[in-house]
Amino acid sequence: MNNASMPSTYSYHLENQNHHLLFASIFWQTLACSILTALLSEFSSSSKTSNIGLSMEFHGNCKRIFQEDDLRQIFMLTVEVLQEFSRRENLNAQMSSVFQRYLALANQVLSWNFLPPNLGRHYIAMFESSQNVMLKPTELWRETLLDIRVMELFFTVHRKIREDTDMAQDSLQCLAQLASLHGPVFPDEGSQVDYLAHFIEGLLNTINGVEIEDSEAMGISSVFSNLITVFPRNVLTAIPNELFSSFVNCLTHLTCSFGRSAALEEVLDKDDMVYMEAYDKLLESWLTLVQDDKHFHKGFFTQHAVQVFNSYIQCHLAAPDGTRNLTANGVASREEEEISELQEDDRDQFSDQLASVGMLGRIAAEHCIPLLTSLLEDRVTRLHGQLQRHQQQLLASPGSGSIDNKVLDDLYEDIHWLILVTGYLLANDTQGETPLIPPEVMEYSIKHSTEVDINTTLQILGSPGEKASSIPGYNRTDSVIRLLSAILRVSEVESRAIRADLTHLLSPQMGKDIVWFLKRWAKTYLLVDEKLYDQISLPFNTAFGADTEGSQWIVGYLLEKVISNLAVWSSEQDLANDTVQLLVTLVERRERANLVIQCENWWNLAKQFARRSPPLHFLSSSVQRTLMKALVLGGFAHMDTDTKQQYWTEVLQPLQQRFLNVINQENFQQICQEEEVKQEITATLEALCGIAEATQIDNVAILFNFLMDFLTNCIGLMEVYKNTPETVNLIIEVFVEVAHKQICYLGESKAMNLYEACLTLLQVYSKNNLGRQRIDVTAEEDQYQDLLLIMELLTNLLSKEFIDFSDTDEVFRGHEPGQAANRSVSAADVVLYGVNLVLPLMSQDLLKFPSLCNQYYKLITFICEIFPEKIPQLPEDLFKSLMYSLELGMSSMSSEVCQLCLEALTPLAEQCAKAQETDSSLFLATRHFLKMVFDMLVLQKHNTEMTTAAGEAFYTLVCLHQAEYSELVETLLSSQQDPVIYQRLADAFNKLTASSTPPSLDRKQKMAFLKSLEEFMANVGGLLCVK
């Protein structure tokens, strides 16, 4: 069979078609187009290609030949047809339908996923989806695509049909593809510059001065986004200056206009948010564009940033400053819809937009920071006034029924957006990184620091109860600090309204925004660390640097806010949660915690919480848990010994005392189900989880000893509450948290204590579950919470084998009474006991729940990796079900699970090799796995990420079963009929094992094998894998 035979037969027909098509009747034109479209699908080797049982390699070869020759001819033919159509006036319906077909065909060609000259391992990716393919053709396409007339034709076509929703989509998609042109098609940078310049000219001619249709928004934004992402900066800047300016101006104009249309879409509550999507895309492009100060001089984008920023603010503010909720004809719409708890908060839902707008705000800090300040200060004054009016009204006629809240709601919504934008402007989202003050903000503050009066700045900051403009010299203050103080003023109005009993008029959403902002701000700015910056702004350093009155004042203010919120807003779960997160931020860094514990309020909070009295005990359990965490973290701040002693007496001891008082009552068994008792127990267990969450390397010794005392008692509770699943789950959760947070720090004997406790827990759990049946047929995931938690506990215990900091066992110095001489319980004992318990409870049905499935496979892989020697000792039925689980995981679960199972095979095979028993059931099982892995690697399409794990397992299995491996190869070879393919395969298999004959479990050989395997895959991988 000649690989090239398929495409070449088509060439002949194509050439003939070329000449006749233009003059053919509509019927023939339509038919031709349909055939071509089908042809393209067949050669594209995408998911559309039909399964005809040919190898991937064959598909690949055909595709490559096709794309260099026939595909180009089809494209040229299509271009000619489109040219012809574009010249005609007044197309009738039939003709326009043909036109549309050819346009779609052109789109299909331009979206072609071009194969590189060397296929290599790409054959695997060949059949992946063809979404968002960028146009990267080979050199042979140079003449065709760099012909300016081609590009011009697509602009012309689009201008002609832009009012037709369907066709415009295709023509814009063609343009977007042309905007993504890159790769070897460009001979040099000059040609790229030329192409880009022409393209931008065509683009501007097409969209400047016309009103964009709704259906064009998405396509146009893709064109811009592709140009900005694909063309290198030096090419962008090499086009004529004027042209580039017009391009950026046009982008600015479109961004603002799409933003306004997106706002309208929201008001009208449209299902299809085309402008919102287009707006997102353009804002994202801005982010790529402005984050490059090498190619553009400083301030190049400032004016544009101002415009985009202003329009964003305008769309989000109410009239008269803004246009929020105004329909196109200027009518305000207002609807009070029900919002469920599942609805995402704006700060998450629009985080990408806000990040872009925040970035643009920094670029234009000179304009944006003062703008936000004045808008916020204005809203604060108005909010204050409005609340006062309400209060007077209430005093004048108490209980006068409902008040119209329209004005208030508008103010709240304005403040909401202003706070979000300010938050994103002043600080970044940080996860795991040290949060830094954005350089633009720092520079802005430094630049003006000479004009600033520090004392007035501090005064503005320290008097949130007064109007900023009432402070003399208020205009000579640091603008960044003044922006922060504007938000503190919002917070102060809120606090005062609460004190005046107007809580029912306040917006919990605004309360949430305030603490969210303060947390974000405190992380980045509070006690700013000079070492992290080249230069630091003097006002920042004076106002919230280390050892300043300012920082002490702010900490006190924030703490007061937290305490007030926890008392007033206990009924607003999200707000309470954000508040307690602010508290954690204040104490999680030692420097800040040192200031926090100097506040009397902090001690009051601790005492109040320990008493478990209102209002704190109204808080939801998760908030209480985090509050406990914060209180424990605070306890590790710097204090003298007496104070520290006193603190723990206030915080931890009452917990222990109350708990012991309850469980040591003589009649505890009788009263244990009484609500009051149950609540006390639940609160204690939640607090224990919070304490475990507060673990850090320098407090683990104290916390572990404290928690251990509880763990023993908790096991007793398991017995008492055996018929109360929610309490049982909570008890197990305490163990899970302790193991999760602490096991990695524990030395040998401490770890053993924990293992022992866990083993006893499992024994009690097992006893209580004996014979228990879960009869509920409609069972949901959360009914198997206990199972999930047990597996999590076992996995956490095992994790010590991977992450262990206890060698640097300094944390326990003085606590550890010598080495554990007679090690009674090991991790293996606990985990295997647990596995004996869990395996029979797991079933194939339960594996349908993703969380259970993932946790289960994580656990069994860990066990195989860490205790392979224990696997053959398992009771027969457990062993079988474990092996079956592995098989199931490799064949019919997600790719992550498959990867885990492959990882489990290597240590199992190694174990067999060590034991040298050729009749053990594990030995027999691994033989079966050899066949499975062999098939997976050689015959099936698999994820490239899996090749390493599969390769390692494969090699170890081959070492173990050399004869069986040879047999597999023989069988495969003997089934090949084509002598050429036979030879190639035989050679490839020889080469594969050449470097490792005889195979042995030696690292060097294994690495050599893995390398050969990669070559093997690239060479013949596509031969056997069939589509």
Partner: protein, 117 residues
């Protein structure tokens, strides 16, 4: 034994309920809905408008009749929580047909007796 204890209603003595802020209620806990002692099987919150205050939507099952009750109230409100006393008993003997009459909170050979003080 079954003759001596009334399974369908509790003994409504003094202080049969105590108040609790709605937000502090938990799923699987108890609450009085429409005058009936219920076990909470579903709890969700919502608000009217972005700046509205939270409301709690409660679904409970009457602990005696198994009937479903629902209520929606501001999360700051106090709800009545019934004083539930729960006892676990071991079943030692089944007579013909008795098993079917046991309430569905039974696990195997154990059943719970819930009683309002």
């Amino acid at each position: 034994m079954a003759d001596e204890i009334d399974f369908t209603t509790g003994d409504a003595g003094a202080s049969s309920t105590y108040p609790m802020q709605c937000s502090a209620l938990r799923k699987n806990g108890f609450v009085v809905l429409k005058g009936r002692p219920c076990k909470i099987v579903e709890m969700s919150t919502s608000k009217t408008g972005k700046h509205g205050h939270a409301k709690v939507h409660l679904v409970g099952i009457d602990i005696f009749t198994g009937k479903k009750y629902e209520d929606i109230c501001p999360s700051t409100h106090n709800m009545d929580v019934p004083n539930i006393k729960r006892n676990d008993y071991q079943v030692s003997l089944f007579t013909d047909g008795a098993f079917r009459q046991l309430p569905n909170c039974c696990h195997n050979d154990k059943f719970q007796l819930l009683q309002v003080n």
